[in-house]
Subunit: 210 residues, 2 copies
DNA sequence: CATCATTTCCGACCGTCAGTCGAGTTTTTT
DNA sequence: AAAAAACTCGACTGACGGTCGGAAATGATG
């Protein structure tokens, strides 16, 4: 903590504030105060308030995304196994630090929307090429029949990201599962795989909560 | 215009401003001035600035949505024809009044995100039950094979809304078409319909621009 | 160490804006 | 006509994002 750069201290401060405060009630001065620096310094490291938020999202998902990508590119393992890793990545990463507090005044969905949009965008664009590659490999290996791997990758990611994020069309967990199950069914039929064969994509390995 | 309520005048003013100005550069005083009323009066009709935006979205899509719904429930016509109306509704309505200006400073994506989120949410939740009904009818008529109509409806709508909105993962028109085409292919295979049979869902009837 | 240059840091200040308030005006009710 | 209710208004407030000029730290040079 003490040896981290001011840049990271600012992000840490924002993250800390995010745990207790509604997003738009966080002011730049407050971030500065929490980070233990002057307000002016903030603008030495970031051009605008928004940029801080964006940077935090970037930082929060760089590592999980990288490992997901690394795993996904292990061409030795089966395409479907790797695909399930993509599913996992979408599911587990979904803007975790925003889910902690549902409480506070519901008046203010403003910048929150911005964050979610950023997150979705991030997720989809980053994972799309990976998933496309996986699908392509599945096609050449004859395990997947589909003539448009990129479109398929995008469709899958859009549905996964949107549903797991659960901001647009908020649903209960059952409904989310139901939709994902539908997606899997669609995927099975669409790629000429027997019904039920892809169910394992959904199986949520409930790791003991750490 | 002159006989419309102040409430509507405020919305009209916002719409007018939206044509030339970047979203967050629009202030409440400005809306009031454009509407020809005092700023205080705004707050007589709306509790907050956000509420004005929400109301505008609501108003903008109430009618198109209603007609789309009405058309979609004409059980006499084929499910696929009605489905194509849903496609059209998604395509043509997509936040039309935000697309006019790409110009201005790209610094400020904040409230814009909020509007898009609202729009997506609106679109999906409103059309989902309609599309589900259509699909269910297609199933009972034997034209569609799928065991989870609601999930299917949601998947289709999510992809359509996200792609046509084009805010997350901004793409060229070709890419959008490509993804939708992929969705159609997936739909054909997933519902046991012959390849190409649903292509008409995509055909964009370019009505002469009025 | 002395001097200068560059990077880093800062908080007082500025302009702006969402939202409030209480007083004024119009409309409706009695 | 009088009272009540609904409506209108713009000056004011408090807070915030961002700027600025200079202070402090750091580093380079000799």
């Amino acid at each position: 903590m003490s040896n981290s750069t001011k840049y990271d201290k600012i992000l840490d401060a924002l993250l800390e504030l995010l745990e207790t405060k509604n997003i738009q009630n966080i002011s730049v001065s407050e971030i500065a105060y929490t980070a233990g620096i002057g307000k002016g310094s903030i603008y030495y490291y970031f051009p605008s308030k928004n940029a801080i938020f964006e940077a935090l999202i970037e930082r929060s998902y760089r590592k999980p995304l990288e490992t997901a990508k690394a795993l996904a590119s292990q061409t030795s393992v089966s395409p479907f196994t790797r695909m399930s890793m993509i599913f996992q990545a979408c599911k587990s990463s979904s803007l975790a630090f925003l889910h902690t507090k549902k409480d506070s005044t519901l008046s203010n969905v403003q910048e929150e929307a911005f964050l979610h949009q950023k997150y979705l965008s991030h997720m989809i664009t980053e994972l799309k090429p990976e998933l496309a590659k996986i699908i392509e490999q599945g096609i050449t290996q004859g395990q997947i029949q589909f003539n448009n791997p990129i479109a398929l990758a995008e469709i899958v990611l859009i549905v996964l990201a949107v549903k797991f994020d659960n901001t647009l069309v908020p649903s209960s967990w059952e409904e989310i599962e139901d939709t994902i199950l539908g997606l899997i069914t669609l995927l099975e039929k669409g790629t000429d795989n027997p019904a039920g064969s892809l169910n394992f994509l959904m199986i949520s390995e409930y790791l003991p909560e750490s």
